[in-house]
Structure formats: C-alpha cells, structure tokens
Amino acid sequence: MIDLSDVHKRFGANRVLQGVNLSIASGTSMVIIGGSGTGKSVLLKCILGLVRPDTGTITLDGQDISTGDRDAFLARFGMLFQGGALFDSLRVWENVAFRLLRGQKALSKAQAREIAVEKLRRVGLKPETAELFPAELSGGMQKRVGLARAIAAEPEIIFFDEPTTGLDPIMAGVINDLIREIVVEMGATAMTITHDMSSVRAIADNVAMLHGGVIRWTGPVGEMDATSDPYVQQFIHGRADGPIESVR
C-alpha cells in the first residue's frame, strides 16, 4: 500500500502540489489523470524519492519512504519513463538487464541476457532486437524496451509515466494492453500518469484526478463517467468550456 498524506511541493513561486492525499492499494492499478503541468510527474517522482516533498509524508507498507535502506526500497520498483529513458551507449539487452547486472544479487552476463531476451519477447520484440542500440529503434519499440526494463527484475510496484505519448493509436493500444496484461500477470501494484483516456480505460482499476495541486476526485474507473465532478467531466470529455482554464 502506498499512502500519500498532505504532500506539498513548490518550485520557486510555483506551488505544484498543495496537499495531496492518496492511497494506492497493493495489487491495484491506479491511473492519475490531469492537465499538463498539474504536477503528475512530480507526484510520481516524489514517491520514488527523485524529488523531495517540502512537507507531508509518503509511506510504503506503513514505512516512511525517506527512512530505511534506499537500494532495497528502489529494488521494489520498476518504471517506464515517458521518453523511454534508454541508455544510448548500451545495447537493448544491456538496457533491459541493467539492474540484473548490478548490485549484490548481480547475475552473470549470460543469465542476465537470457532474462532480457525473455522480457523482450514478453513485450513483443524479437530476440534480434537485443543486440541493437536504442537509436536504431522506433518510438514504439523504445517504449516496449522501456517496459521490458521496468519488469525485468519483476518488481512489486511499476510506475508508467505517459506510456502512450507520441505513439500512433494502434501502437498506443498495443502498449496499453501489454501494460494491463503484465500488471495482472505479475500481480503488481501499478501507478500510471496519462492524459490519454483510452489508456485510462484500458489500464485503470482506480482513477485519481490531480488539479490545482490536490486530488480533485478519486474512485473506481467504472464510476468515472458517472461522477458529477465538473473538473472530471470536462477533462474526460475534452471540453474547452468548464472550470479548467484552457489557454487559447
């Protein structure tokens, strides 16, 4: 269980998070929606400890994330970054097996490569892809490699940052389905941030909407369409008119 309690974060005069309260139950898939610049990525980075909140607490299974063994904490997570964030200088299989090759439980090169190829196959990539460099891949393939890297060490919790941004609708659908299948198959806790409503419907068990630095609404994905919250309604229907200001 991930719990965020009254989390605040500001960058200079820009108060991005203004008291976020949210719970993500183990084994469920939470999708955070919200407009650009509302702090979704910051929220995710706060949980991972990449950004330190100004105030508030974040706990994982009851333990404050700012205490305890950092490596052990991070070993429980996998993350798919928005642009893939693949390491340019490493081959695809080395990217996927990056964690497996390092640390106290480091595997041999052969074992790590074997697992990497298996994970690549799981995300629909051929074994030949393993020897390529990230620059030789298309955007969709890079996302798949990022996904393979996120699941390589079979983490308990997986974060997906805008998993379908920049992809065509068919490839976006493929990635959404892969994410859903993998999360269910691994029994992992998932947290996804996206603007893409097709991703929300494909991936989410629960949805939370971040707006104005706070969680405006949260609930099961099945209740999202029926909610009377005007912010949620405006967002999911993509209307220009409503309480969320749009710059035109």
């Binding site: 991972l48 490596d71 991070l74 970054f81 928005q82 964030a85 390491f87 340019d88 390092r102």
Partner: protein, 258 residues
C-alpha cells in the same frame, strides 16, 4: 547606495555559492573513487574517449607549437647572438608550460564539451532519473569513471605532446634554421631536467581532473531543453579553460618559486 551594494554583492555571493557547489561536487567524487562498486567498463570507455581519441588533436597542437616556438626563439635569440639556446628553450617551454597548458585547453574544448553535452542530454531525457530508479548512483556511474580516466590520461597525453612538440622544434631547427640534427638533440637532452618533465605531467593530471570535473558538473546541472544543454556545454568549456589557466599559474608558483 543600498541598491548599488546589493548589485555588487549579489554576483559575489553567487560566485561564492558556485565555488562551494563545485567544491562539494568534487569532494563527493573524491569520496566515491575508492568505494565500490567500480564501473570498470565505463572507466575503460572513458579512457579510450578521453585519452586515445584526444591524441590527434594534442599531437597536432604540439607539433605546430614546437615549430613556431623554435622560429620565435631563434628570431628573438638572434638579437643577442643566442641562437644556440633554441633546442633547450623549446624543450623546457614545451615540457613545463606549453605541453600541459595547450594540451589541457585542447582537451577542455574536446572533452569537457562532450562530457557536458552527453550528461546534460542524459539529464533532460530522464536517463539520470532512470539510473536512480535502477539503484545506480549517477555520480558514481557517470562522473567518477570520467574524472579518474581524465586525470590518468592527461599526463600521458602531455608526455606525448611534449615529445611531439620537441620534435616539431627539431624539424624546424634542422630544415629551416640550419641546425645540425645530432647537435640539436644533444642540446635538448643535456639541458632538460627530470623535473621539467615531471612538473608538466603533474600539471597535466590536475588539468585532466579539472576538465572532467567541469564537464560532469555542468552536465549534471544542465537546465532543460536544447538551450539548457547548449549552455551547460559552453559553461563547461569556459570554466575548464579558465580554471586550467588559473591552476597553471598556482602550480607554477608552487613548483618553481617556492
């Protein structure tokens, strides 16, 4: 009056804060050098990039500098019939000053820029965040191998540059200034002391450290976007170059006047 003092004090405070940040960054790197894990592959790759691939630019710089130095010393020396000092002055000038300083500046242009651009791009494309989520310390994985490699590679580059620079002087000496080849070489060897070469190599190591440190520091602190990476690259080259010249003065003062 207060506003004027404020305008004067603000940049001074900012400069002091920047020095402090760089010092802390350097301290963090030094603190990690002897602590595992050691990323040997990254170290080897950095050694190749910084050392081996910088040889052509250092060599070309040295040979032209040695040649020009010989011509200048000959022209200057002829004013008081001291043309015979050309071999020894070329050798001393190359090993003590021009080899390390020009080599350092050329490597700063080539390596500090490339390190800053590479790490800066990694930062803006979230590769550094990805390293953290994969339980890897970016400082240890990216900065330490580069700094150690540059510190070890620069003395070798300087030694090579010294030899090529002296050879440049010798070539000009025997082809343009009518020196006897054997006499030129004997004169070079007779007057050159071990410390002339050693001090230059120590300077080289210090300059290598500065080059990689500035590249890594500005890369890691790069702002977002292409403009941010561009600014980081520029700052890395400028700060590395200025620090090399400043460090050269300090080291010369320490080595030759104390």
């Amino acid at each position: 009056m207060t506003a004027a003092l404020g305008a004067l004090g603000r940049p001074v405070l900012q400069a002091i804060a920047a020095v402090g940040r760089v010092a802390l960054f350097a301290g963090a790197i030094l603190g990690h050098i002897l602590r595992p894990p050691f990323y040997l592959r990254e170290f080897g790759s950095s050694l190749l990039q910084i050392g081996w691939y910088s040889l052509p630019v250092v060599g070309l710089t040295a040979i032209f500098t040695g040649g020009a130095l010989a011509l200048q010393i000959y022209a200057g020396g002829s004013r008081f019939n001291a043309e015979s000092v050309v071999p020894s002055i070329v050798a001393i000038g190359m090993t003590r000053e021009l080899g390390p300083v020009l080599g350092g500046l050329m490597v700063a242009a080539r390596v500090a820029s490339s390190i800053a651009a590479e790490i800066g791009t990694m930062k803006v494309t979230e590769q550094i965040d990805a390293l953290v989520t994969l339980s890897t310390n970016p400082l240890k994985y990216l900065a330490v191998p580069r700094v150690v490699a540059a510190t070890l590679a620069m003395p070798v580059l300087v030694a090579t540059g010294d030899a090529i620079g002296i050879m440049g002087g010798w070539l000009v000496g025997i082809t343009r200034l009518d020196f006897n080849s054997a006499a030129y070489l004997k004169n070079t060897v007779d007057f050159l002391e071990t410390w002339d070469v050693g001090s230059g190599l120590i300077k080289g190591a210090a300059f290598g450290f500065i080059v990689a440190l500035m590249g890594c520091y500005h890369g890691m602190n790069s702002a977002r976007g292409a403009q941010g990476v561009g600014a980081a690259t520029k700052s890395a080259v400028v700060s590395a170059s200025v620090l090399i010249l400043a460090a050269n003065y300090v080291l010369t003062e320490v080595f030759f006047t104390s």
